[in-house]
Amino acid sequence: MSFGSPYTTLPDFEYHRPTSLEEALGMLRQYGDEAKLMGGGVGLIAFMKERLMSPTHVIDLKEVKEFKLLNNAPGKGLTIGAAVTLSELLEGGMLRKEYTVLHEALAKVADPMIRRRATLVGNLCEAIPWVDSPPALIALDATVAIAGPDGRRNVPVSGFIRGPVDIDLGPSEIVTAIDIPQAKGAQSAFEKFTGGSEFSLASVAVMMSNDGRNRRARVVYGSVNSTPVRSADVEETIGDGITPRSIRKAADLASEKVECVDDVLATAAYRRHLLKVITTKVLKRMIQ
């Protein structure tokens, strides 16, 4: 079957489909290092085909009841369970108004068929430096809800991603949800440049909050370094308002101050140029 090529087959494993968090944690305890958690499976199945991962147990989290939770109660912020797919988040434009930056980031991830399977939690947990959801989630001040044998804990997304393919999650822990605080009255937007690549070469997530007294900007750049980078310089520049003048200054500062790296997708110099372009683009769109 499958021409016998390693890239078309999966390693041998036993498949498990727990229906409760307790059951899932129990399986993780029992199988330890030999197990891998599966959300949508988009990443895991691809990694297994390339034998980057060869678990002997796959624990599918899609049927865990608690993980299907998608709560967008007015005034309470947003809770996105670990089994919620990108399609479910985009449907009906539920994020478009209050969480625009996340909507715009997710709407351009891969394609509709992959978004139908991929989960936001899975996307985050892969911690690939070039994916778009982390900068948007950090701009929204999102936190990760984690359950383990010792109970539950919450970590900001900014601290959860420690490096490429490196997250703050113990071997016996499971991410149960992503929580996003209410963003009423806020304005946000996302911009990326892919240049035909399947990943972003540079992306930017901007969030301007305004509670009536204080205006505050959060600006996060993705795909330019091993983890998303917040820019205090840019945030300060546009904190008092986005104007043609502050846009020019912000774009220059982004290009000068945000630390970029060379990697297989682009050079640091090219990324610095892109930062200027996408910073200008996203901010101009926000005052149109």
């Binding site: 079957m1 499958s2 890239y7 078309t8 087959t9 999966l10 390693p11 041998d12 494993f13 036993e14 498949y15 499976g41 988009v42 199945i45 691809a46 085909k49 796959v58 599918d60 899609k62 990108l86 399609s87 988040l89 985009l90 449907e91 009906g92 434009g93 709407a107 891969a110 394609d111 509709p112 068929m113 992959i114 978004r115 139908r116 399977r117 399947e198």
Partner: protein
């Protein structure tokens, strides 16, 4: 090995499978549904696209065991009466297939697009089929086929909220 039962194009099919088997292999090799094509094996070309419980997915990124108890539809199942669907006739009229290898996936995806969005714009079409490739480059002919079916459909555009745009 374990036994799974999947309703494929309206027929309940039971087979023994291995846990590490892909839905793609289950359909092609165990059930011999050969319209589901195996090409890139990594979710990029979209030629293994099927409907799983009413949604388009790439079957090379789904485990067969995940389909247990669920409903799969392939291009063979898009009409019940053995007649061609309007989009299939339009594919023929416009020569929207050259080698034909990707055609089942394109027919399935455009048929589903026209179901949820009877009058798609070019942007809607490009977005809905952004996960599919055609190496012969019949994109223009496919667009013409979709436009023909759209023009022949009297249904008014569905309210925006009801569109499964994602």
């Amino acid at each position: 090995m374990r036994e799974i039962s999947v309703t494929v194009n309206g027929r309940a099919r039971k087979r023994m499978i291995k846990d590490n088997e892909l839905l793609l292999d289950f359909l092609r090799e165990r059930l011999e549904v050969r319209s589901v094509k195996a090409a890139c094996w990594r979710g990029e070309c979209g030629l293994c696209t099927v409907m799983l419980d009413g949604h388009l997915v790439k079957s090379c990124l789904v485990l067969a065991v995940e389909a247990d108890g669920r409903v799969v539809k392939t291009v063979e199942g898009i009409t019940d009466d053995g007649e061609l669907a309007p989009i299939q006739k339009a594919f023929v009229t416009h020569g929207a297939a050259q080698c034909g290898f990707c055609t089942p996936a394109w027919v399935l995806a455009t048929h589903e697009l026209l179901r949820v969005n009877p009058h798609p714009s070019d942007v809607d079409l490009v977005e809905a089929t952004s996960g599919l490739v055609c190496r012969c480059g019949t994109y223009n002919q496919i667009r013409d086929a979709v436009a023909e079916v759209s023009a022949a459909t009297k249904v008014r555009r569905l309210p925006r909220e009801s569109l499964a745009r994602a």
